[in-house]
């Protein structure tokens, strides 16, 4: 019998700072706000935290994408750590939680605080978007030398080419893609921390400024400032804490295809395919067991890619799957982006989806709570050359 040790870890607490554009607080202050909220939410004390993890860690060159490092958090909260890790080369933003589950199963830590902080809204200016990989003079080195000389500066363009290929191979339409954005906006109306809460119509969506075909403005998520924290605890300790533990049923961290925006074997999927296949191989649960799915939407198309990767529909079938929007709505058979995603909620960059999955499994969603007491959530984060995912199951 193969052992899947991530099941020995559970999420026990969550925290979310203020989220916005033009906040008065620094990235570190936001991180500490979220961290203390999560520790209290779990029923722990800061002294109980013996592990710390993040993705991608401090000092990424792109402004605001990762303004806070592990050691600032350790020093600010007076943590005594037995285990810590952060790094860019990992299965996407959720890798901190995947790593934490492994560290807990290995006995390196008991309660790991995982965080993701962004200050992209306050870091970018009219002439300098935070997410654009434009070199400031100088020549281009590394992988990006094969993209940037062709003015392929942004993930918007790279992902757009996957969407275009999907449209070509499977007949996916802009109106189908729209449902990802429209659904997110509907749900954001019930999330007081969401950035865009006013109604968005199909006409608004189709009439929006074109960014890079087939993407218009509302296919792209919205930069913000904010910090998300989750506490991952040893499952046997978690039972004594404040809330019902959310067991990490299975993780997916695989990348089998080429690590590349243009050499991947299937130009309609990408690493999400490999990560999701690994996740399902580590559980007896099936896609039909999932009550709510929080799938990355840095660009609208990535949600379609995740739907297919996770097997909620067949390859090429995500367009018809979301058509009309009813199936993915709060009261549909597979609610998606229940907090408004990153498209309307704000680009918390991955961990926001995991936070929301926990909100739903704990029944704390308020007006956006999915009915039927959901107990299993799927979370897929990233898209493109790296992806990570996990299944949460309330004990």
């Amino acid at each position: 019998m193969t052992r899947f040790p991530e099941k020995e870890a559970a999420i026990t607490g969550i925290g979310l700072s203020d989220v916005g554009r033009g906040l008065e607080r620094t990235g570190l202050q936001l991180t500490l706000d979220a961290a203390l909220e999560a520790i209290e939410d779990a029923g722990l004390r800061p002294e109980d935290i013996d592990g710390l993890a993040s993705w991608p860690g401090a000092n990424l060159p792109s402004p605001g994408i990762s303004p806070v490092g592990l050691m600032e958090v350790k020093e600010s909260l007076g943590l005594e750590l037995d285990w810590f890790t952060a790094g860019t080369e990992a299965p996407a933003q959720i890798s901190s939680v995947i790593n934490a589950s492994a560290a807990i199963a290995a006995g390196f830590a008991r309660h790991v605080l995982c965080f993701r902080t962004v200050t992209e809204a306050s870091s970018q200016t009219r002439s300098r978007r935070a997410s654009v990989q434009s070199p400031s003079g100088g020549r281009v080195r590394g992988e990006m030398q094969y993209q940037i000389p062709f003015k392929a500066f942004s993930a918007a363009q790279w992902v757009a080419m996957f969407a275009q290929r999907h449209f070509h191979e499977f007949g996916t339409t802009k109106e189908q893609l729209a449902q990802v954005a429209l659904n997110a906006r509907k749900n954001a109306a019930h999330n007081p921390k969401a950035i865009f809460r006013e109604p968005l119509s199909m006409e608004d969506y189709l009439g929006a400024r074109v960014i890079s075909t087939p993407f218009g403005l509302f296919d792209c998520d919205v930069p913000c400032d904010g910090s998300t924290v989750v506490i991952v605890s040893r499952a046997d300790l978690a039972r004594d804490l404040r809330k019902p533990p959310l067991r990490i049923e299975a993780v997916g961290s695989a990348v089998h295809g080429r690590y590349s925006w243009d050499q991947f074997d299937d130009l309609t999927s990408m690493a999400a395919r490999d990560a999701a296949a690994m996740m399902w191989a580590r559980t007896e649960l099936r896609p039909s067991d999932v009550d709510v799915a929080e799938l990355y939407d840095g660009f609208s198309f990535l949600t379609l890619a995740w739907l297919e990767a996770m097997g909620f529909c067949g390859r090429g079938e995500a367009g018809p799957f979301v058509e009309g929007g009813a199936r993915i709505a709060l009261d549909g058979e597979l609610p998606l982006a229940t907090q408004g995603g990153q498209l309307s909620g704000g680009r918390l960059h991955g961990l926001g989806f995991l936070h929301e999955a926990c909100v739903q499994l704990w029944g704390e969603g308020g007006h956006r709570q999915v009915a039927g007491d959901p107990s299993v959530a799927a979370v897929g984060v990233g898209g493109g050359p790296v992806a990570g995912c996990l299944l949460l199951r309330r004990d």
Partner: protein
């Protein structure tokens, strides 16, 4: 000529790729043992792990695998729209380049169209662009 795009830094690993256009050629690193083309260049063949690699010219033909018509001026002064494309070379399944389509109106771009390489020369770099193959006389 518009402002030159940001250019790659040349080193001993990539110089052959970015300068082959000086001779009108498109070259990829190829494994002499298992005949696998590899891109981007690496010290060993990822297929057979051999080190017996050498740049080899390809036909310069390609088909359009996907594209996007970019309308967003990502940096000040950027002229839009332009077409970013992924093209696939006939020499090997999955051997592709990200590039720009040139000599082709954005509204005429179609996935699957036949293309050929044409180089843009900037300083010591020859960027491989692609244009539609001229219809041969019938």
């Amino acid at each position: 000529m518009a402002t030159p795009p940001p250019l790659p830094h040349l080193d001993d690993e990539n110089r052959f790729f970015w300068t082959a256009g000086a001779e009108g050629a498109l070259r990829f690193l190829r494994c002499l043992d298992c005949r696998h083309y590899l891109h981007p260049p690496r010290p060993r063949c990822p297929s057979c792990r051999g080190e017996n690699l050498t740049p080899e010219s390809v036909s310069g033909r390609a088909t359009l695998a996907s594209f996007t018509v970019n309308h967003q001026p990502w940096v000040p002064g950027m002229e839009v729209p332009f077409v970013v494309a992924i093209v696939e070379l006939p020499e090997q399944v999955g051997l592709r380049l990200t590039t720009n389509l040139v000599e082709c109106a954005p509204e005429a771009v179609r996935i699957g169209m036949a293309l050929e390489v044409v180089f843009g020369h900037y300083e010591d770099v020859w960027l491989p662009y692609f244009r539609p193959v001229a219809q041969e006389g019938t």
